[in-house]
Each structure stands twice: as structure tokens, then as C-alpha cells.
């Protein structure tokens, strides 16, 4: 499927009509498009504030995945913030564990813990560790940060759901740079082989990794065809377009007999001008002046 331009609809109707249609057919309790856009902005502000306060962390890859995680938590996932271990919950597995600030901000906005707790990020004895730690944080499914492990874990969770005749679905967020890891492709092969159709991988395809652009460090191309060749349904979307993301997640639900990967084209550092496409902010915290500047841009 070709990548539509940002804002362009996936059907022949106008973007506005599609949004209206996609967002009117949802169950009660989920958020409207307007509300989700507001939430996305709040998440970005949390990310900047918490990493700024901590003095270290990974803003770039947190900001790039904001809409992906917003679409999941506020439109798609069946989950109970008051009961994080609910056996039938849909699972969200953050494989790119350095985006922990994004997940923490999202969980706080959902009510898994208080927004105030976000200011403890990376402090000694905080439940909000530098990279995710599932033994301490409510709502965190997996300890991540060592890249490449989430997709395998997600397959196990998906297979257990099938064995138990539970109808939960499993969503796993990978980084594109993370796909350098061989384990990702071991898992890609296995997911198709085991026909786990209750599994969706979403790649935050921001095009950059620590040492620079993927295409210069380690080219992943042809990325779409690689996943197809491994037996996956591939959907490409603008990863900052909530409508496209929601539609793609819906399409994945209807697909039987094979796993789906959504390649979400994103911008690293999205939303903060001086962080966008700037590899310096992969793993560097903004200083106080930069925090103020970023928060002004996110008002």
C-alpha cells in the first residue's frame, strides 16, 4: 500500500469525512479526534518536562511515537487502568524501551498512576526507571531497553491468548533502528509461521538511530518488502496522522491468518522544532532554556 501524504485520506472521500466516519463508529469511553490531538500535545509536554527535569533520557524517539501510542491507548486498546493485570486486556508492548517517557506519560494520562509521579523519572527508587521495568511500573508489560526483544515476547503473549481461547490482541512498538537486530527477523519469521493474527507490530519509522540516519548507518531498505517477504501484511501510514493510524489498526483486526505490521512514517523529535530530525536529541535531555522553548512551541 503506498504511503498517503500527511492528511490525505485512504479512501476517495475527503479527509474530514473519513475522520468523522472513523471516529463516530467507536465504542463509548474512547476519545474524539480533537481530544486525542489535545492528549498528544499533553504527552509531548510531559515528555519534555520529565526528561528536562531528569537531566537525561531519550526525547527524540519518544516524541516520534506520540500519535501511535495515543491512537492505541485512547481508541483501540481494551484495558483497565485500575486493574493493570486484567487477564483479558489488550497488550501494548514497548520494545523500543528508550521511549519509556512516552509510555509513562500515557499511563499517567490513562490513570495507571498520577501525573505528578512523572517528575520522579530516573530518580533513585522511582517506579519510573530510565528504561521500562515491568516489575515496578503498573501497566508496563515488559522490561525493555535492550533492543530487539519485544516482538518475540509479543509472539509468546499472542500464542498464550490463542491457547487460552482469549480474544485479547497484542500490539508491539518497534523502532526502525531496532530492526537492525537479528532477533527481530527471527521473530518476524516465527510470527508468520505460527500465523499469529492477534499480533500487530508497529514500527516507529523515524529514519534515525544514534549514529545518524538509518540509510547511512545500516540501510533497512527495502523495508516494506522485507516484512512482506517474511509473510506479514504491511500497511504504511503517516505516523503522525491519528486517522490513518486508527484505520490501519482497524484493518489489522480484520486480517486473519497472518500478522500485520504498520510502518508508521514519523519524524524524530516531532513537535519541537529544534529536535525534529536532529540525532543529537536521540538520547540527550534538553537544558532549562530548551525546555522552556519546547514547551512554548507545544502550547
Amino acid at each position: 500500500m503506498p504511503l498517503p501524504e500527511s492528511g490525505e485520506s485512504l479512501s476517495s472521500t475527503s479527509a474530514g469525512d473519513v475522520e468523522a466516519e472513523v471516529f463516530s463508529s467507536r465504542a463509548a469511553g474512547t476519545k474524539s479526534l480533537k481530544e486525542m490531538k489535545d492528549i498528544a500535545k499533553r504527552l509531548r509536554r510531559h515528555i519534555i518536562t520529565m526528561i528536562g527535569k531528569a537531566g537525561s533520557g531519550h526525547p527524540g524517539g519518544s516524541l516520534s511515537a506520540v500519535e501511535i501510542v495515543t491512537a492505541l491507548y485512547f481508541r483501540v486498546l481494551r484495558h483497565k487502568p485500575q486493574d493493570p493485570c486484567w487477564s483479558d486486556r489488550d497488550r501494548f508492548i514497548l520494545s523500543k524501551g528508550h521511549a519509556a517517557p512516552l509510555l509513562y506519560a500515557t499511563l499517567a494520562e490513562c490513570g495507571y498512576f498520577s501525573v505528578e509521579e512523572l517528575s520522579t523519572l530516573r530518580r533513585l527508587d522511582s517506579r519510573l526507571q530510565g528504561h521500562t521495568d515491568c516489575t515496578v511500573t503498573p501497566g508496563v508489560e515488559m522490561s525493555a531497553g535492550a533492543l530487539g526483544q519485544g516482538l518475540s515476547f509479543a509472539i509468546g503473549v499472542a500464542l498464550a491468548g490463542r491457547l487460552n481461547s482469549q480474544n485479547y490482541r497484542v500490539y508491539v512498538l518497534l523502532g526502525d533502528g531496532e530492526c537492525d537486530e537479528g532477533q527481530v527477523w527471527e521473530a518476524a519469521m516465527a510470527a508468520a509461521h505460527f500465523k499469529v493474527d492477534n499480533l500487530v507490530a508497529i514500527v516507529d519509522n523515524n529514519g534515525q538511530q544514534i549514529d545518524g540516519w538509518n540509510r547511512e548507518v545500516m540501510s533497512l531498505d527495502p523495508f516494506n518488502q522485507k516484512w512482506q517477504a517474511f509473510g506479514w501484511q504491511v500497511i504504511e501510514v503517516d505516523g503522525h496522522n491519528l486517522t490513518q493510524l486508527t484505520q490501519a489498526l482497524d484493518q489489522a483486526k480484520l486480517t486473519k491468518g497472518q500478522p500485520t505490521v504498520i510502518i508508521a512514517h514519523t519524524i524524530k523529535g516531532k513537535g519541537v522544532s529544534f529536535m525534529e530530525n536532529n540525532p543529537d536529541f536521540h538520547g540527550k535531555a534538553p537544558d532549562a532554556v530548551q525546555v522552556d522553548k519546547a514547551l512554548k512551541e507545544l502550547e
Partner: protein, 312 residues
């Protein structure tokens, strides 16, 4: 002649029994099910068996996901590949979160034999014991293996069981009951204590018997639970016999000898000898030839006991 039994076959059969008793038991393998004997489970429960192909990292990750969802996964490969090829996966997907995964590795040590260096597992115990939270068991015979597999299934948390390739002598009879975390006194003695694991337990018993004919009275301890190690039993052995010899089919780094030495040094320093493979790799050969070449026979143990007693 003592009966020799395959510990791998007993592992496979025990998995089948567990599978019949508990629908949450699932099994994974990495294209070695004919050798690890998980194929016995695969035949009876194909829907609960996942052959992950030659991809140990992915197998470990899938096992972690199954465990996180209430299953009791047994994952098997050769000891040289798991933990060897999936150490970070064991660390972050299993050890750190304390997942209820049972990694059962066969073909431990150098008695893999003719396949040579690439298949000899001489670092696995050091690697796996370094991971916080892992319980590590090295059964001494088929009877202990069957019971240890059952105990692992019934106990929550990450377990590593190391089995060997060849058939090995029974050192127990059917009345034996494996007690997790406890050393087993195989033979009483006052002059020194031999502490052994796995197939070296049979060699230790043979050595003690031979030494008794020379008038040297030494005890033998089997240490099936390598981690957490039975500190009380080691302290007692050091105090009562005043000299310790350890013997293992593993490098001298980070295995039984290292762990016993830590306890001895901290609590009751006595002369020790550590029989293990020195800083090298073994070559192809018959298992018995290799054990002789690398100093792991009953004769080697006897010599070490004579030496350690002189240092008392």
C-alpha cells in the same frame, strides 16, 4: 555393573507426564527436539509445542511471553547455545522480570564428545549462575533428573537444568527424593569431602571407594542445586573434614569450584582443590578420552584428594 540411563530421555518422558497433568505446560525447542527429547512432548501435544527453528534468542523471548501470560514454558536446546546464544534475552526477558521459564539444556560439558569444541558447553554454568534470580540444577542421574524437572515445573521462577548427552550410571534408587537447594550426602567420610555435580558424582563415588582401600576416608556430597548453593552443607563439610575437592564438567571459571570457594573463603577457610577444565577448549574425542585428557576421571579425583589432605 551399574545401570546406565539417558537423562535426556527421562526429561522427555517427564515432560509428557507433566503435559498430561497440567494444560499450562508448553514446550519450545530450537530445532533440536530429536536430541533434547522434547519430541516426545511434541508428538503427544502438538498444539502446545513450538519449534522455533534455529533461533534461540527468539525462542527465549517467546517463552518469556508465554510465561507472562500464565503458561509454564519449558524451552530446550544444547547447553552451548542456550545460554550461549541468547544471554541478553535470558537477562532482560527472563531473569530481570523473574519469568516462570524453565530452560532445560542438554549436551552439557565435554562428554558431547566427537562433535568438538563448537558443541562442548563449558561456560554455561558460569553464564547462567551470573543471572540474578535463576535457580540452577545439575542432576546426577536419571532419577534425580525426573524429580528435578517436576520440582522446576512446580516452583515459580526461572530455572536452568543442565543435562548431559551420554547415558550415565544411576547413583540413586527409586526411593530418592530431590530436595531443592539441598546438598546430598552420598558417602560419609572424615578425611576430606569431594563435592561433585552431574555425571562427576558417579566418578566421585568411585574415587572415594578406591581411596578407602588405601585407608583414606573421604565423603562425597552431590550438589544438584548449584544456585542457590547449599552454604550450610559446605560449611559443615569444611568444618568436619578440613579439606574439599570439587569436580565439575565445566571451566574452572564461575562454576561449582568458584561457588564452593566463595563459601569456604567467607566462612571456613580450608585447603581446596578445584577439578575443572583449565582456561582452554577441548577437542573432538570419545567422552571417556576427553574426561581423561582434561583431568576429570576418578583417578584424577583420587590424586586431588591425596594432595589436598597433605595441605591440611
Amino acid at each position: 555393573m551399574v545401570q546406565e540411563v539417558s537423562v535426556r530421555e527421562v526429561y522427555g518422558k517427564t515432560l509428557v507426564e507433566l503435559g498430561r497433568e497440567n494444560p499450562d505446560i508448553v514446550v519450545l525447542d530450537a530445532d533440536l527436539s530429536r536430541s533434547t527429547m522434547t519430541q516426545l512432548f511434541a508428538r503427544e501435544f502438538p498444539e502446545r509445542f513450538f519449534d522455533c527453528g534455529i533461533a534461540e534468542q527468539n525462542m527465549v523471548g517467546i517463552a518469556a511471553g508465554l510465561a507472562a501470560s500464565g503458561k509454564i514454558p519449558f524451552a530446550s536446546s544444547f547447553a552451548v547455545f542456550a545460554p550461549g546464544r541468547c544471554f541478553d534475552q535470558l537477562r532482560m526477558s527472563i531473569a530481570q522480570p523473574g519469568r516462570n521459564v524453565k530452560l532445560v539444556a542438554t549436551h552439557g560439558g565435554i562428554t558431547v564428545g566427537e562433535d568438538g569444541t563448537s558443541h562442548h558447553s563449558i561456560e554455561d554454568l558460569s553464564l547462567i549462575c551470573s543471572l540474578p534470580g535463576f535457580t540452577v540444577i545439575v542432576p546426577a542421574d536419571a532419577i534425580e533428573t525426573a524429580q528435578a524437572v517436576r520440582v522446576a515445573a512446580a516452583s515459580y521462577g526461572p530455572f536452568y537444568l543442565r543435562l548431559c548427552r551420554p547415558k550415565i550410571p544411576l547413583v540413586y534408587n527409586e526411593s530418592y527424593r530431590f530436595n531443592l537447594g539441598k546438598a546430598v550426602t552420598m558417602r560419609q567420610g572424615n578425611g576430606a569431602t569431594i563435592i561433585a555435580i552431574g555425571l562427576m558424582v558417579a566418578a566421585a563415588l568411585e574415587a572415594a571407594e578406591n581411596l578407602s582401600r588405601e585407608g583414606i576416608d573421604c565423603g562425597v556430597l552431590n550438589m544438584p542445586t548449584l544456585k542457590p548453593i547449599d552454604e550450610a552443607a559446605i560449611k559443615k563439610a569444611a568444618a568436619e573434614t578440613g579439606a574439599i575437592v570439587t569436580v565439575e564438567e565445566h571451566l574452572e571459571h564461575g562454576g561449582l569450584g568458584s561457588k564452593v570457594a566463595q563459601v569456604v573463603a567467607r566462612h571456613h577457610p580450608v585447603p581446596m582443590e578445584i577439578l575443572a577444565i583449565r582456561d582452554t577448549y577441548a577437542k573432538s574425542g570419545k567422552p571417556a578420552e576427553l574426561l581423561r585428557r582434561y583431568g576429570l576421571t576418578a583417578e584424577d579425583i583420587e590424586q586431588a584428594v591425596r594432595g589436598v589432605i597433605k595441605r591440611k
